[in-house]
Symmetry: D2
């Protein structure tokens, strides 16, 4: 009934710690010195006594900087804070000659761009981690104009991969009892099926047949990194509308047999390239399997975001379908088209063309079923003529699917889905003519 | 009265996460393959789907390994998992020729020993962080026999410095209401003034004039990294006995004006070289200053661990003092001796010879007062003829002290302490040797 | 930064407890027996082994009952579950004859209506407390039609006064980080200045110069009992509009000197007559005084809900003001009118006519200032011609004000407010009527 | 891994609340007035503004009072704070004449001793609940000398039964991660098998096959009310020694099939007569059944505290057994003796003579097996010649057992135990001669 109400001495220490750190942050006043000068001082400062303070000042100055100053700051990181290849060569040769700890240490010291140590020191400021993640968003934007800044991004990414190591992440259930300041981020970050209001959010969190889970990093406790929304259903659903309907009746846990992952959203643009989605799904499968006794099937209901674009590159019949009203398309024709796209359309890297397919197949899921007229929202019509797909996570096969996909790019699929590509192939030989 | 009793949905998610991870860990069964083979598989495995499982298996195998297997494993890390200096040279030259992101990326990839990535992947296993910290303890022991393993230790240390960045640590108050499984670690780790029993511990935590604070890392929530014990007093104490006496009367917060840091202990041998002690003291000064209104003075009551040893290298008078009963020594003579040692005895690196002095002076503290017959325990008699010292943390001067010390090795000291060295200097002319 | 993240074993036990109790509740199936029969069984059942289960069944049956069944149930409580005055008389005489524990015990047993014990047993069901509070809402509604049911209400009220004793309540800060399922209740229960949306709510909780505090009972952890909204300001505000404006700039804690209680709302209709409002304000004054260093003044900005109605009973000039546009009224005239109303208009019980005045003056506050055109919302115009009042909580005078008011109905007021009644008195001679 | 680390705004509010209340309590200074005078003022004080303060003063004065003052205070409660039977008679007759709410209210007002309202007001002081529980301990002691004080105890008990209603209690797991200030109470309160040290405690809490659960009241969050210690075993144990052995090997959850309740201890002498033990066991059975998949049997391993005393009242053979070494007794003879005692020896109230039997049989358990030489500690030897008993809680039969016992005092027992009484009876007819 009441849960966890005695934290003992913890609350006190933690609270004071919080106040302290906020105050520290609040104390900081920009000295007016330019960012590079502040960064050099932070990097050369001996002892860490004042490092937190100096780091906080750099971050404050950065926040207050305008676009030009930020661009100059990134140039500073790219140029002055780069490694010196000549020094690396020398140290590498010295280590080759005398492969001992002293020479290795010297080599490692010069073989890492100094900006990495700078970022580590900036991270000591209260709230530093979140600010560095935000800084990378700026950097990636700027790198579009100045591709050379990609060199700087390498170091952000390297450090983030280390800091956001799966071993440091915490899985949490998000519910209607979660703090509002976190829930508003769920609303903001939902990228697949938009959440229109707090009432809409509540419909996705509060009913007994709904779940939501997110990964957090302890240094950003109010900011989810990635979250997945789950519907518990009886049978595998073939359309998104009924799942999200305002007036649907919730099922009790004893009635459900299937967990449907209907939306997965990354929250932090600044963590692009740091993947944790596959861990999330695998872990949620495990958690739900324990919590809800009757669950037998774990499946997604996923968009096929690249289908329409790909169809636009196919024959006239495909293009004709693009022009038609998705609600009136021949379902079988669209399913064949989608099956062909998901199972056979590959990018240059031999991976599936569809990014969502790439993600789930890479995790070891298999294409289980394809549905026409499954998402008739404007976005669904536009990106996939209304088609959706179920990817199945079968714990017994996930690992071998994953290995086969990683090694041979084998796309695992249910027999019925594979069958859809047969006729399609035949017709393709005939020019891929579809129903008129 | 009741504190924090509604965690909302958190508790559930977190609990399940915990169960999940424990189970995962429990699932692991050693495959019987040798460690290097398992490590190679972990490192080359594509996708992270099964990485957690493989990492857990490596750690399980390591735990079960005997000393010879562990030594072989470290050799494997040192040799096979080292970087290739020739490849580094090549990549450095390529980057010098074409300083773009692609070439930098290639350089960074070969300039980092592969064992770093291996350690990052091992960290993904549940409880991995703590196991890697423990592994480094084994490594450091083995490196005494095989100094070349210091090359491996460089990478452990590099990663730990990044993972245990001050920005990721959490300050907590330790009290008598803290969990017993944490308190037993406080008993075990106390390194300065041994805690003899749970009753002894309670005397250091429960009274209203006692405090204890520790740093924790979120991935090791039950394991303090470093802690400091504090006595709130009226005036600056000159001996440890009365502070720890069983029958002393506690003061109320309204009676105290001084916070005495009388013990600071590092808890994790595996984090040697990763410093957070100065942050801890500075933050605790701040926290206490807010919590206890009347505090005006922040000071240590510290041992002088190297005094006796140093006195043994001095003149006959010094050696005579070593032989005498500390309780009967001429206090002034011992104080002069200690002042001389603390203010003037330097190591080769021009730092103070005394390790505790080095720590506090490096933090910006100053030598405030020296006391004879202040610690008459066997350890106190043996290491410093019973002498102790107060280092003063004056928030108004900490920063300038720190800078002066860092730049010029200037030892800040109260006038009275400096005066003690006057006569000492005279004696020095008469034969007292100095170091450095 | 991270707060209270180790609950140790608590979370587990508590969670299981929760699951257990929910399950228990879920297990219950209505047996189809009529409520009185179930109640009799619950009351006579020996041992408490199955009491929780029986209690849960009664509550389930009650929830499912229609209006007629509920009315019949209340009649059952009123008639069959009443005490027997003849038995009371006998037992009282026996106790008078032999005033020992046995006879007192016998007297107490018959002098309490059996429905009290029934309610205590119903409270053992999971969630029982909240259900009984809700049941009283039904009862009070029914008692309007059947005044005799007030006898039953006496017992609800008696038990609730005992259960919701101030010593069992917990004060909590409500913030934007509070659970959404609690925040939605704040939105629903706000009775003074309506909260229009989640954005509106956020404006009242998130800025650094806003606070909200509520009392909770541990058995209803998701349901606030009463809450107060506070604005931290510089100086005492004279109008509500600027306090709630969407585009206002928040002050930092270092800029504020005044805490303004601008809204107090009771949440539980079923707890009518159980007062905790005065405790709440006194405690929040204390909490804020500690947390925000510069606070010197604690004051309300309160509506004057009965002013218009009272003016309608006064002379023609007063009635003319009622008809005018509040934004254009002579401010001084309205302030005089309000001062007269607040200081001199009394009900039959010699208490102030205005219910809000009655509450704050009863708490020991004093009428500090009156403002015209202070609340130009439709409600403000309608109930008080736009006037509002500041009641001042001066910790140094609260107690004596309270005593004087309790004993002699003395209304404490600032000199300036008292002065306003001078001219008013003159006008009274010219025809202003008073009450009481 | 990390659990529940975001309390959002809660921690703050709760902390402040705590500080506030402690301060309030600290503020109190005894005015030097006698307790009765202070109580009268508390009772007649209008408004509750200063009630908390007055209540705190009474409790402070009480704590400081010596034995004579406390006795006088209890007399004051017994005499001046008693109800007036004449007033009750009058009010009862008035209500009989006019059975409306007004007259019932008047009757209820005089039919409750004023000390009940006094106790309710005292409870408003911070920590009041715990102090009243402690006060009752004094009262019960004093009532031994002055039996008339039992009249006062009636009111304490009445209020405590209401306040400590099962619906307000919280079940918690106690583990080695629980706060030390709670664990020390477990050590202190263990009443069945003494806990000798913190190491002993740890052996009962930390291994994966040990559990401990307690009930708490939210107003006494650091004070367990009752707790039960559980061993998870394979098969039903027949002796206490191996369960508590220092060097035993713990079982993993997958190996166990039985939960053994081997110790149940009430913690609060001041709550005597307020029962929650049966709820505790039933709830723990449910919790464990969910948490540990393989559990099939729920059983106690209980002392038979009254066996030796009862045997002393039996024939010579029984008395001879009392004199023998329990380790060398004929096990069958002792088992027969114990079976006879447990199944057939009844008190005047027709309940089992043995208090532990009375408790478990009253809960619906059944006598499952009896063991000789099962507790060879001095206490076990002394109270039951080393015999112990398993009471079985079979969820399928608990309810009907309970009903049969409550209605007909039927003692449920396993066939084997019943059989033991057969031969015993025969032999008893022959003089109850046992082996020599």
């Amino acid at each position: 009934m009441t849960r966890g109400w005695d934290l003992g001495g913890w609350a006190l220490g933690d609270l004071l710690s919080t106040l302290f750190e906020r105050k520290r942050a609040g104390d900081v006043t920009a000295s007016g010195k330019p960012l590079p000068e502040l960064c050099r001082a932070l990097l050369t400062g001996q002892g860490e006594v004042s490092a937190m303070k100096r780091a906080a000042e750099v971050l404050l100055r950065y926040r207050q900087a305008d676009a030009a100053e930020k661009a100059a700051f990134f140039r500073f990181l790219a140029d002055e804070m780069d490694l010196d290849p000549a020094a690396v060569t020398l140290a590498a040769q010295a280590y080759a000659d005398t492969p001992d700890a002293r020479h290795l240490s010297a080599l490692l010291a010069v073989a890492e761009p100094p900006r990495q140590e700078l970022l580590r020191r900036l991270n000591q400021a209260p709230g530093g981690t979140a600010e560095l993640v935000a800084m990378r968003v700026d950097l990636m934007a700027q790198a579009k104009a100045e591709p050379d800044l990609a060199r700087v991004d390498l170091d952000f990414r390297h450090l983030f991969a280390s800091w956001f190591n799966r071993g440091f992440l915490v899985l949490r259930r998000i519910g209607w009892e979660s703090p509002a300041n976190i829930l508003e981020k769920i609303i903001a970050y939902e990228a697949v099926h938009e959440i229109h209001s707090w009432d809409d959010l509540r419909r996705r969190l509060e009913p007994p047949d709904r779940r939501c889970f997110a990964f957090f990093h302890p240094a950003m406790p109010d900011d989810p990194l990635i979250f997945v929304e789950v519907a518990l259903t009886r049978g595998i659903p073939g359309a998104i509308g009924p799942l999200l309907a305002e007036d649907r009746r919730a099922l009790s846990p004893s009635q459900v047999d299937t967990a449907v992952f209907y939306s997965i959203s990354n929250c932090q643009a600044g963590l692009r390239g740091i993947s944790f989605g596959n861990s999330l799904i695998k872990q949620v499968v495990d958690v739900l399997g324990r919590e809800v006794a009757g669950l037998k099937t774990f499946v997604t209901l996923s968009p096929i975001p690249g289908l329409s674009r790909w169809m636009g590159t196919q024959d006239d019949a495909a293009k004709a379908m693009l022009a038609a009203d998705p609600a009136k398309l021949d379902p079988e024709a669209l399913r064949r088209m989608a099956a062909h796209y998901l199972l056979e359309a590959k990018a240059e890297d031999r991976q599936p063309l569809d990014p969502v397919a790439r993600f789930h197949l890479g995790n070891g899921a298999e294409v289980h079923e394809i549905h026409a007229a499954a998402d008739l929202s404007p976005k669904g019509r536009q990106q996939s003529c209304g088609a959706m797909v179920n990817y199945l996570y079968d714990p017994a096969r996930v690992e071998q699917n994953h290995e086969a996909f990683a090694t041979h790019q084998t796309v695992a699929a249910a027999r019925g889905v594979k069958a859809l590509t047969g006729p399609a192939k035949d017709r393709k030989e005939k020019g891929l003519k579809t129903n008129g």
